[in-house]
């Protein structure tokens, strides 16, 4: 049996020391199968992004059991093998690209770090993959629109040829029309490269579109895990989930 792409067991994440300690995530269990697209939903402060950051090694104060493709990870140190498997796309493309690095610099740095040769061809291929094309190669972030920047950020994540992408609200800083383009791009890339997604968002319609299963978080705990089909049928069990569905107004919004 192939191990799950990502197995999280009894994950606790905290910030600060007592008496100011804040428990951001409390004994969370998540398992994402290979090739699956899994959504984490909840309001801000519910701990959903914290889980992604703990997995990516951006937080060191956590306990529990984290396995990526069957390999255990510890602390906040990640080896090169990890980054070849896992990459992350951040929420705000206006903040996640270095303003003084051209697209070429961003992508070639990542490729060098991953020890991937043939940089020139790879960059062109990556830019084609994310639908930007080669003419964008020597542009700087300020010469790109928000959607184009997010495409560069996705290309950067893909440069390492990962198998698991951590997506932290990848479209919430974008216009709805651009959001549709990026969501389509992510769907295509997942099919082409056989990727696994763990996606964080507060938008139920977006997870409904992108994911197979979702988990709903509140105050650092997972309150419910359900297949998207149940979400659509309105078969959510937890009261909190039903409240979220109602508040998002995406069921019969045109009434």
């Amino acid at each position: 049996m192939t191990p799950p792409m990502l197995a999280i067991r009894d994950l606790n994440v905290w910030f600060g020391e007592p008496p100011d300690r804040v428990d951001a995530v409390k004994s969370a269990d998540i398992s994402v199968a290979q090739g699956e697209s899994f959504g984490l939903v909840g309001e801000s402060g519910s701990g959903k992004s914290t889980i992604l950051r703990a997995v990516a090694g951006l937080i060191d104060s956590w306990s529990g059991d984290l396995q990526v493709a069957g390999l255990k990870v510890r602390g906040a140190r990640r080896d090169r093998q990890f980054f070849k498997t896992v990459q992350m796309v951040f929420q705000d493309p206006y903040a996640s690209l270095h303003p003084r690095h051209s697209v070429d610099a961003v992508l070639s740095e990542t490729l060098h770090l991953q020890g991937i040769g043939n940089v020139d061809q790879r960059i062109n291929k990556l830019l084609d993959d994310v639908g930007l094309g080669r003419s964008f190669r020597f542009r700087y972030p300020h010469q790109l629109s928000g959607g184009q920047r997010q495409r560069v950020a996705i290309a950067r994540a893909l440069a390492a040829e990962p198998r698991l992408l951590l997506l932290d609200e990848p479209t919430s800083a974008l216009d709805v029309s651009v959001q549709a383009e990026i969501l389509n791009l992510l769907s295509d890339l997942r099919a082409e490269h056989d990727l696994t997604y763990l996606m964080v968002t507060h938008d139920l319609a977006v997870v409904g579109h992108m994911c197979d299963r979702i988990a709903v978080m509140q105050h650092g705990r997972l309150v419910e895990e359900l297949p998207v089909a149940d979400l659509r049928r309105g078969a959510a069990k937890a009261e909190y989930t039903r409240g979220l569905i109602e508040a998002s107004g995406s069921l019969g919004a045109t009434a």
Binding site: V176, S177, A180, R232, G243, A247, S248
Partner: protein, 295 residues
């Protein structure tokens, strides 16, 4: 009711000089605002925020605002001197901005900010201003107004910060409130709460509301009438509850590109922009033909 519109705008143009020549952010728009909730929808760069800012005289040189008419209750407010604009801005027309984190002063207590803003517009004693601030905080459903008065902006949540902004802006009883993406920095759950608070206040006071947003669903639920902006023009005007009957391909495209829980689809339709949308004839009936209050 046949009162005159609160705000009447004809052929409004906002231009900025750039190295490539003049950039027209708003290209000749007409609209009237009655005592209603008017939504202004469009993508980034469509000119919706510029429209709101030009009404308040917040376009700074070298940006230029021109219009055939820009009247607030029959009085022209086009390019007023800063001194005269200050009598209107905040007091009779006020604005709630997108992110409370950036629009509240971080080194001043909430209470001092509200009372100071209020006393700028009304000659009242410190004690009266304090009482008014508490009353306003209650009106936006802050449970513990005394405590919130003494706290600093970083000590309150985003949703509470936005309610504080609304309290501050509504304290002088303005006639028009311009809300520029007032809830996009907030969570879904808090968002509805803030919207309904704003809604009640606007209704109770009979104010006109200009609600600028990129969120079509929210505008459809919350507003009476919607202007759809594209590339600096109003391409369509619709009653909010008939948004799904939109006729302009741009509006239809925007609506279609939203993922929906109740209607799953493999791929989202992507908006293909057409150059003709920039300059073609507009489908929208002219604003003055379907003014809610009548002219």
């Amino acid at each position: 009711m046949t009162d005159a519109p609160l705000l009447s705008v004809r052929n409004l143009r906002v231009t900025f000089p750039t190295r490539q020549g003049l950039f027209q952010a708003v290209r000749g728009i007409d609209f009237d605002l009655g005592r209603e909730r008017l939504g202004v929808v469009g993508e980034s760069g469509s000119g919706k925020s510029m429209t709101g800012r030009s009404v308040l005289g917040l376009i700074r040189p070298p940006g230029r605002v021109e219009a055939d008419r820009m009247e607030f209750q029959g009085q022209s407010i086009l390019n007023l001197s800063e001194r005269r604009m200050r009598k209107i801005r905040g007091q009779r027309i006020s604005m709630v901005m997108q992110d409370p984190k950036f629009s509240l002063n971080p080194v001043m207590t909430v209470g001092r900010q509200i009372t100071e803003a209020y006393r700028l517009h009304r000659r009242v004693s410190r004690a009266d201003a304090h009482a008014k601030a508490i009353e306003m905080l209650r009106a936006v459903q802050i449970r513990d107004p005394e405590r919130v008065m003494d706290s600093y902006p970083h000590e309150v949540s985003g949703g509470m910060g936005q309610r504080i902004m609304i309290a501050m802006m509504l304290a002088p009883d303005p006639e028009i409130l311009i809300a520029d993406e007032p809830t996009s920095a907030l969570d879904v759950s808090v968002r509805n709460e803030v919207l309904s608070i704003m809604d009640n206040l606007v209704r109770d006071r009979g104010m006109g509301l200009i609600f600028i947003s990129h969120d079509l669903n929210m505008v459809a639920q919350f507003c009476d009438r919607v202007l759809i902006m594209y590339a600096g023009r109003i391409v369509e005007t619709l009653p909010a509850r008939e948004l799904h009957k939109a006729r302009h391909p741009y509006t239809q495209g925007l609506l279609a590109s939203l993922p929906r829980l109740d209607a799953p689809q493999d791929r989202l339709p992507v908006l293909t922009r057409q150059d003709s949308w920039r300059d073609d004839d507009l489908i929208a009936p002219r604003a003055d033909t379907d003014l809610p209050g009548g002219l």
